[in-house]
């Protein structure tokens, strides 16, 4: 199963758009820059990790690039916006738990 934590540790194939930010700014970045945006409940498991944030949490989807953009929060470092390549079945799983 795809695991976000392991992916970010083991791979360099991801893009950090914002770092050490507030959740609101990261959410706004996704809303304004993602090709497609779906919203999920906080606590939903997305690519193997529970999504942390203020509802509704935006997840950006780019089918063409095969990437998703999501807020990633750590207690001491605030929230980052990361874009990672994921298998197409993971994108379908995200659409399936969307609250839109």
């Amino acid at each position: 199963m795809f695991c976000l934590e392991t992916y970010l540790r083991m791979s360099e194939d991801y893009q950090i758009h914002m770092t050490r930010s507030g959740f609101k700014d990261c959410a706004r970045f996704i809303e304004e820059n993602a090709v497609e945006v779906v919203h999920v409940k906080p606590g939903e498991k997305i690519v193997g990790a529970r999504i942390i944030g203020i509802p509704p949490v935006p997840i950006g989807i780019n089918d063409e690039k095969g990437t998703i953009m999501l807020p990633y929060t750590k207690p001491c470092y605030g929230t980052a916006t990361v874009e990672i390549p994921v298998p197409s079945e993971e994108i379908e799983k995200i659409r399936a738990v969307s609250i839109d």
Partner: protein
């Protein structure tokens, strides 16, 4: 036995560790089995502060805890909210647990306290205890005492209602 979880934030503020021990003691006296979920650095501060575990019996890693968390695991959530990230964590724990909750909001700046309060209020139905606090834990301790007293009264009233329904 009722179960409570205390969610700790980044341990940057000196008020957090003493208040975590204080709150654990209070909740234990109120009949809760208390678990503290924290980052490894916050956990180290707790371990040094209570080496023989007189107060803090159960400590878990915040990430592992969140990963395994399910509705019904705890009866009460107390979240320390000193930063923007802690607001996100608290709101997330709140929505998973869907239980009685209290956000203990504190920061050096009045503006931040107000912003955290508004975000918690707009996204949860949790009780809020807040104060400007950094080095001095007293203003926050007083508000925590008040909030827990209110919670205790409510819990006792609910227990009485249950007894009436049972009889």
């Amino acid at each position: 036995m009722k179960k409570a979880i205390i969610l700790l934030g980044c341990p940057e503020s000196p008020s957090q560790t003493p208040l975590a021990i204080y709150a654990t003691n209070k909740l234990t006296q109120m009949g809760y089995e208390v678990t503290l979920a924290s980052t490894p650095s916050a956990k180290k501060l707790l371990e040094v502060s209570d080496p023989e575990e007189h107060y803090l019996k159960n400590k878990v890693d915040i990430e592992t805890c969140l990963d395994e968390l399910e509705e019904g695991d705890y009866d009460f959530l107390l979240g320390f909210v000193p930063k923007d990230a802690a607001v996100s964590y608290f709101v997330t724990f709140y929505h998973i647990l869907n239980t009685k909750s209290l956000a203990l909001i504190f920061a050096r700046d009045e503006e931040k306290v107000e912003y955290f309060e508004n975000t918690v209020r707009e996204n949860t139905e949790a009780e809020i205890a807040s104060a400007r606090a950094y080095h001095n834990p007293t203003p926050l301790r007083v508000r925590l005492d008040r909030a827990l007293k209110k919670l205790d009264k409510k819990t006792l009233a609910e227990d009485d209602d249950d007894k009436v329904e049972d009889s």
